[in-house]
C-alpha cells in the first residue's frame, strides 16, 4: 500500500485511533531547541513512547501567542541558527526513519518571507503533513490555504473560547486535518488547573463539524490529559515537554529519558 501523505495521513491517523476507541496524543517541540540533531532524536523518542502526531515549532523572534517557556525555546533555537529551510530539511531526514504525521507550528512572517507557494511545495516534498499558523485567522488564510491544498497539506485552524458562532462556522468550513481548540484565554504555558472554557468550546465546535478536534494550551500533566481526553479527538502538550528539554540542556541522554517517560505517561493517559 502506498504511504499516505499530508491531509490524508492526518485523516487516516485520527480515523485509525477512533477505530480503536482512542485519541491522539500530539506532542510539541520547538525545532532547533537546543539544536536540530536533538530535535530529530526527540521526535523519534516521542514517537517510540506513544505520540500519535508531532507538532514542530518553527522559531520566530516575536511569538505573541506563546508564554515564556516556548519564547525561551524559540530564543535558543534562533541562537543556534535554526531557520525554516533547516527545519524542512530536518523533516526530510526524519522521513527516512518515521511516518508519524508531522505538522509545523509557526507564525506567518517566516512563511510569507519564504514564499507561500514555494513553502507549500517544499514542505510537501520534505514530508510535512500540515501547518498551524498562530497569527493567521480564518479570514486571512486563503493565500496560504490554496497552495497548501494544491500540495495536499492541511492548514489547521485554531478556535478559541472567544470565537463567536459565526466565526466557528467559518473556521470549520475552512478547516483541514483537525481544528486546534485553544482551551483557555491566554498564551501557551502550563497551568495548575484545567480551564472551564474547554468543554464548552469543544461542544460548540463539535456541533458544527466532523473534523477531528484537538485541545491544547495549558495541559501540563498526565492527570490533566486524562480528564480532557474523552471530550476530544486529540490532546496537545507543548510547554510541559519543552520545560523538560530546557531543564536538561547539558545532559542529552537524561533529556531524552525524561521526555520519553513523560510522553509515555501522557500517551497512556490520552489513549
Amino acid at each position: 500500500m502506498e504511504e499516505l501523505r499530508g491531509t490524508e495521513r492526518l485523516a487516516a491517523t485520527f480515523a485509525a485511533l477512533k477505530g480503536e476507541g482512542k485519541r491522539a496524543f500530539i506532542a510539541y517541540v520547538t525545532a532547533g531547541d537546543p539544536d536540530l540533531e536533538t530535535t530529530r532524536e526527540l521526535v523519534l523518542t516521542l514517537e517510540r513512547k506513544g505520540a500519535s502526531i508531532i507538532e514542530l515549532g518553527v522559531p520566530f523572534s516575536d511569538p505573541v501567542a506563546d508564554g515564556p517557556v516556548i519564547q525561551e525555546a524559540a530564543g535558543r533555537a534562533l541562537a543556534a541558527g535554526t531557520t525554516l529551510p533547516k527545519v524542512l530539511e530536518t523533516v526530510r531526514q526524519l522521513r527516512r526513519e518515521t511516518s508519524i504525521p508531522i505538522v509545523l507550528l509557526t507564525y506567518y512572517n517566516p512563511v510569507l518571507r519564504f514564499g507561500l507557494s514555494r513553502f507549500a511545495r517544499e514542505a510537501a516534498a520534505c514530508g510535512v503533513d500540515g501547518v498551524i499558523v498562530a497569527d493567521l485567522p480564518a479570514e486571512e488564510g486563503d493565500g496560504l490555504r490554496q497552495p497548501l491544498d494544491e500540495s495536499g497539506l492541511a492548514l489547521i485552524p485554531l478556535a478559541a473560547p472567544t470565537s463567536t458562532p459565526e466565526r466557528i462556522r467559518l473556521i470549520a468550513e475552512k478547516a483541514r486535518g483537525f481544528i486546534y481548540c485553544v482551551s483557555l484565554l491566554g498564551v501557551t504555558g502550563m497551568r495548575a488547573d484545567l480551564p472551564p472554557d474547554a468543554a464548552a468550546l469543544l461542544e460548540r465546535v463539535r456541533a458544527m463539524t466532523d473534523v477531528p478536534l484537538a485541545l491544547g494550551f495549558g495541559i501540563s500533566t498526565a492527570e490533566h490529559a486524562a480528564i480532557v481526553a474523552p471530550q476530544c479527538d486529540g490532546v496537545i502538550v507543548g510547554s510541559a515537554i519543552v520545560k523538560l528539554i530546557a531543564k536538561n540542556l547539558d545532559n542529552r541522554p537524561q533529556m531524552l529519558d525524561e521526555v520519553g517517560a513523560f510522553a509515555q505517561a501522557l500517551a497512556a493517559a490520552v489513549g
Binding site: G67, Y107, P110, R113, P137, E139, A160, S163
Partner: protein, 397 residues
C-alpha cells in the same frame, strides 16, 4: 472645525497593506472594537464629548507657530511648527488616548492596558485613565524604562502600573508583544489602548481618526495665516501616529508634499537604525502587512534609535501604502542630525523638542535652505523634550 466622520476604511486594507493577523482569541475582540468604533464615531454624543475633551482638557487647538528665527537662520522656506508639544501631557499622544479610553469607558471595560516606547503614549494613557477612573497598566521595554525614567515616574504618579519588559530587545516591539499576550489572557474585560497608527485592523484607522485633528487644524490654520496651502508637511515616523495625523489633513491636496522622517540611528548603511520604510521589506508583525526590518528568514531585526519612540522595526500600514503609491516620501535622519535639530530649535526658538520630533526638525533644516523664501513648510512638533534631558545631558556632556 474638526469632526469625526467617515475617516476609516471598511476592510482594514490599504492596498496590499494592513489586515488583522492575530491569534484567533483576539479576532472577536477586534471585531467588537470595530463595531464600537463605528457606532461611537457616528454618535453625536460621543463626538461632542471627545471634542470637548480635546478643547477643555487637552488644550486644543494646538498653535501653528511661525518660527521666525529658525526661518532666518536657515534662509529659505518659511517654517511653521504645529505645536503638539503644548498639548496636555506634552505630546500628540493625548488626542488618541482620550478617544480610545472614552471608548473603553463606554464599552464598559474594567481595565486598560497599553504599550509605550518613549513613555509619551504611556503617560497619555495613564492620564486618560486617571481622568475616567479606569485602572491602567503599561508595558515598557526595560531599556526604555531606563532611558525615559521621567515618564515612568509620571505614569506611576498618575496611578498606573508600569511593567518593565525584559524579553527580546527590551524596547517598544517587545512591549507590544507583552501587551498583546496580556490582552489575549484578559480580552473579555480589558481594553488595549494602542498608541500608534499600526497594529491589526481597526487600530490603524482608529488612531488615525483620533489623530486627524492635527492635520485638520493645521490645514485650516495655514489657510488662515497664509491664504494658501503649504508646499510640504513633515513629521517623524516611528509607528506613524503623528505622521498619519498630520498627513490625513492634506491627503487630498496633491500640491502638498507629505514627508515622513524615520530614525536613521547610526546611519541606514550601518544597519543600526529603525528606518522601516526606507530600508525594510513588507511582512507581517503585530497584526498587519507593512514594511518591516527583517532578515532573509523573516525574523524581525533589532533596531536602534536615540529616540525611544521611533525605535521600532515596523510602521503603520497606511504609511506603507502611501510610500508605494508615491503620495508620501520617506527619508531617514541620524541620531547625530536629530541632536543637532534639538540644539537648533532650542537656540533659535527657545523650544526644546522631543528627540523623536527633532528628526522632523532636522529634515526641515536640510530642506528649507534649498527652497525659495515664499515657500511654506509645516513641521509637526509632536512632543516636547523634557523627557529626554538625561539622554541629552549625556550627549552634550
Amino acid at each position: 472645525m474638526f469632526a469625526l466622520t467617515g475617516q476609516f476604511t471598511l476592510d482594514g486594507r490599504f492596498g496590499a497593506f494592513g489586515g488583522a493577523f492575530v491569534p484567533e482569541t483576539l479576532k472577536p475582540a477586534l471585531e467588537e472594537l470595530e463595531a464600537a468604533f463605528r457606532q461611537m464615531t457616528d454618535d453625536p454624543a460621543f463626538q461632542e464629548e471627545f471634542l470637548s475633551l480635546l478643547t477643555e482638557y487637552a488644550g486644543r487647538p494646538s498653535r501653528l507657530y511661525l518660527a521666525r528665527r529658525l526661518t532666518e537662520r536657515l534662509g529659505g522656506a518659511r517654517i511653521y511648527l504645529k505645536r503638539e508639544d503644548l498639548n496636555h501631557t506634552g505630546s500628540h499622544k493625548i488626542n488618541n488616548t482620550l478617544g480610545q479610553v472614552l471608548m473603553a469607558k463606554r464599552m464598559g471595560k474594567k481595565r486598560v492596558i497599553a504599550e509605550t516606547g518613549a513613555g509619551q503614549h504611556g503617560v497619555a494613557t495613564a492620564t486618560a485613565c486617571a481622568l475616567f477612573g479606569i485602572p491602567c497598566e503599561v508595558y515598557m521595554g526595560a531599556e526604555d524604562v531606563e532611558r525615559q525614567a521621567l515618564n515612568v515616574l509620571r505614569m506611576q504618579l498618575l496611578g498606573t502600573k508600569v511593567i518593565a519588559v525584559t524579553s527580546g530587545t527590551k524596547t517598544l516591539k517587545d512591549a507590544i508583544n507583552e501587551a498583546m499576550r496580556d490582552w489575549v489572557a484578559h480580552v473579555q474585560d480589558t481594553f488595549y489602548c494602542f498608541g500608534t497608527a499600526a497594529g491589526p485592523h481597526p487600530y490603524p484607522s482608529i488612531v488615525r481618526c483620533f489623530q486627524s485633528v492635527i492635520g485638520a487644524e493645521a490645514r485650516a490654520q495655514i489657510l488662515e495665516k497664509e491664504g494658501r496651502l503649504p508646499d510640504a508637511v513633515l513629521a517623524c515616523v516611528g509607528g506613524g501616529s503623528n505622521a498619519m495625523g498630520m498627513f490625513s489633513g492634506f491627503l487630498s491636496d496633491p500640491s502638498v508634499r507629505l514627508i515622513g522622517v524615520e530614525a536613521g540611528g547610526d546611519g541606514v548603511e550601518t544597519g543600526r537604525h529603525s528606518a522601516s520604510l526606507t530600508a525594510g521589506i513588507p511582512g507581517v508583525l503585530h497584526g498587519a502587512v507593512s514594511y518591516l526590518l527583517q532578515d532573509d528568514d523573516g525574523q524581525i531585526l533589532g533596531t536602534h534609535s536615540i529616540a525611544a519612540g521611533l525605535d521600532y522595526p515596523g510602521v503603520g500600514p497606511q504609511l506603507s501604502y502611501l510610500k508605494d503609491s508615491g503620495r508620501a516620501e520617506f527619508l531617514a535622519i541620524t541620531d547625530k542630525e536629530a541632536l543637532e535639530g534639538v540644539r537648533l530649535l532650542a537656540l533659535t526658538e527657545g523650544i526644546l523638542p522631543a528627540l523623536e520630533s527633532a528628526h522632523a526638525v532636522a529634515q526641515a533644516a536640510k530642506m528649507a535652505p534649498q527652497m525659495s523664501p515664499d515657500s511654506l513648510l509645516i513641521v509637526n512638533l509632536s512632543g516636547r523634550g523634557d523627557k529626554d534631558v538625561h539622554t541629552l545631558a549625556g550627549e552634550v556632556g
